[in-house]
Amino acid sequence: MAVKDAIIGWKQLPHGCFVLEPGNSEKFKTGDWKSQRPVLDKEKCIKCAMCWIFCPEMAYTKNAEGFYIVNLDYCKGCGICSNECPKDAISMVPEEA
């Protein structure tokens, strides 16, 4: 669910603008406004997991081959993974490209 799907009228808003469902931010695809995205070069990657450790959104998960893959629905394009990668295997690419 993206922000545009969450649009409701004032009569539908919960009391005091409270969030009544614990952990419901999981339902929101919070990465829809990034201006750049990380692109992994698997030739350079040594599977060290530094991107996984440093990602502030916990958007990285390990796949079956042992690579750490970013979930672009939650990645906000901050570039920390790219900055921390010891092998320069992650490059930040503009979203429109």
Partner: protein, 392 residues
């Protein structure tokens, strides 16, 4: 029915808060509110009230504590004045937008500078738009009654908004008056225990105070405003129930000798008692004057005010705060906008008086009447006039 006692109004208000059996009081002393919270701290320290009294380090912390305790489901009270109110300003908007039914007495005092500990309405008028229900007490009995009423209204599930009961600093707060103090049994029968709509509870978690992105903010403000406007019905209904229980009836707007009045003074707060005496004196001299007193300031009682002024030809509106650079004083602006282009609406002359503790005497009311009659014949050059200022 309770006993009629001679008591300082601040002490009576503190006793009323005790009768309301509050759970949390978070307050910082500031003149002229001090006696209210000092007495409450004594009541709690002496074991007469089972409540947390939090002696906070500032008014900003006081209102923050109040938000937290109200969120946790506690009946919550605080009180402030002037500079203290200014310091809690950031949080008072949050309290109302999060719909916390906190009750606060404001012992009205001028804002600095120059430094003034004395009474006017500049502190509350600087907080006109905080989204709280706001009432003005005329005397000690009203301050007690409106405070008890405030908890009942605030905690009504249809309302769930914080309430300010204003009482004039010193002029009302420090005066010893005969006040009928309700009994505990009466207050218990009138005011049931607080049952919050939502509270901070690990067994049923909710998030309070989250961000409002541009897609939500407008709707959040409209929802709050609609709740505030709709609260009028509950406020009036609860005053009716209060009257049935305690025998003292209150309205959003009160009238005094207005039936055949051509000129009506409009006031708020304790100045209204002087205004009534002034009206009596003017009536003896054959002047067709009356008084309309606004008790409910927010939400503004549009229909009740229009009804109260009847067919009066002129309103002389008294403001006890100056709104620098504005078109009129706060109450003057409100009433001119309310009555703009209403068919048969009276002429409105706006006077600012009683700033920073300057006495509002009967002579001043006579001066206002003379100026009003003059402006009726010859249109004033300014939208409002500061009464009693030395033009030197």
């Amino acid at each position: 029915m309770g006993n009629r006692v001679g008591v300082e109004v601040s002490i009576a208000v503190a006793d009323a808060v005790k009768l309301c059996n509050v759970d949390v009081i978070a307050a910082y002393p500031i003149t002229p509110q001090t006696h209210i919270v000092e007495h409450l701290s004594e009541i709690v320290a002496d074991g007469h009230l089972d409540a947390e009294f939090i002696p906070v380090e500032s008014e900003h912390a006081a209102m923050s504590c109040c938000c937290g305790s109200s969120a946790a489901g506690a009946r919550t009270y605080t009180s402030t004045s002037s500079q203290g109110f200014a310091l809690m300003s950031e949080i008072v908007y949050i309290a109302s937008s999060m719909r916390f039914p906190i009750v606060m007495n404001v012992a009205n005092r001028a804002l600095s500078g120059p430094i003034s500990i004395w009474n006017d309405h500049s502190d509350i008028m600087a907080h006109r738009d905080i989204g709280w229900i706001q009432t003005f007490a005329e005397n000690g009995q009203e301050a007690v009654d409106l405070t008890i009423h405030a908890f009942k209204v605030a905690e009504n599930k249809k309302v769930s908004l914080p309430v300010i009961v204003n009482l004039d600093g010193f002029i009302c707060s420090h005066v010893i008056e005969p006040i009928i103090m309700p009994t505990q049994e009466e207050v218990d029968a009138y005011l049931p225990p607080f049952k919050p709509i939502y509270k901070l509870d690990p067994k049923k978690p909710v998030s309070m105070g989250t961000v409002g992105i541009p897609e939500v903010y407008t709707e959040a403000k409209v929802a709050h405003n609609e709740a505030l406007k709709a609260s009028k019905r509950v406020i009036l209904d609860e005053w009716k129930k209060f009257g049935e229980m305690f025998g003292r009836y209150y309205n959003a707007v009160e009238t005094y000798k207005t039936e055949d009045a051509e000129i009506i003074f409009v006031t708020m707060g304790s100045i209204s008692e002087t205004a009534m005496t002034a009206v009596d004196g003017m009536r003896e001299k054959g002047e067709k004057v009356g008084l309309v007193r606004i008790r409910l300031w927010r939400p503004f009682p549009n229909a009740e005010f229009k009804k109260a002024i009847g067919k009066a030809r002129i309103l002389a509106v008294l403001d006890r705060a100056l709104s620098p650079g504005a078109v009129n004083g706060p109450v003057g602006s409100e009433l001119k906008s309310l009555l703009y282009k209403v068919p048969g609406a009276p002429k409105i002359f706006n006077f600012i008086a009683g700033l920073g503790g300057r006495d509002m005497t009967l002579e001043r009311f006579n001066e206002i009447l003379e100026k009003t009659k003059l402006y009726d014949k010859k249109k004033p050059t300014e939208n409002y006039e500061v009464i009693g200022v030395r033009e030197l």
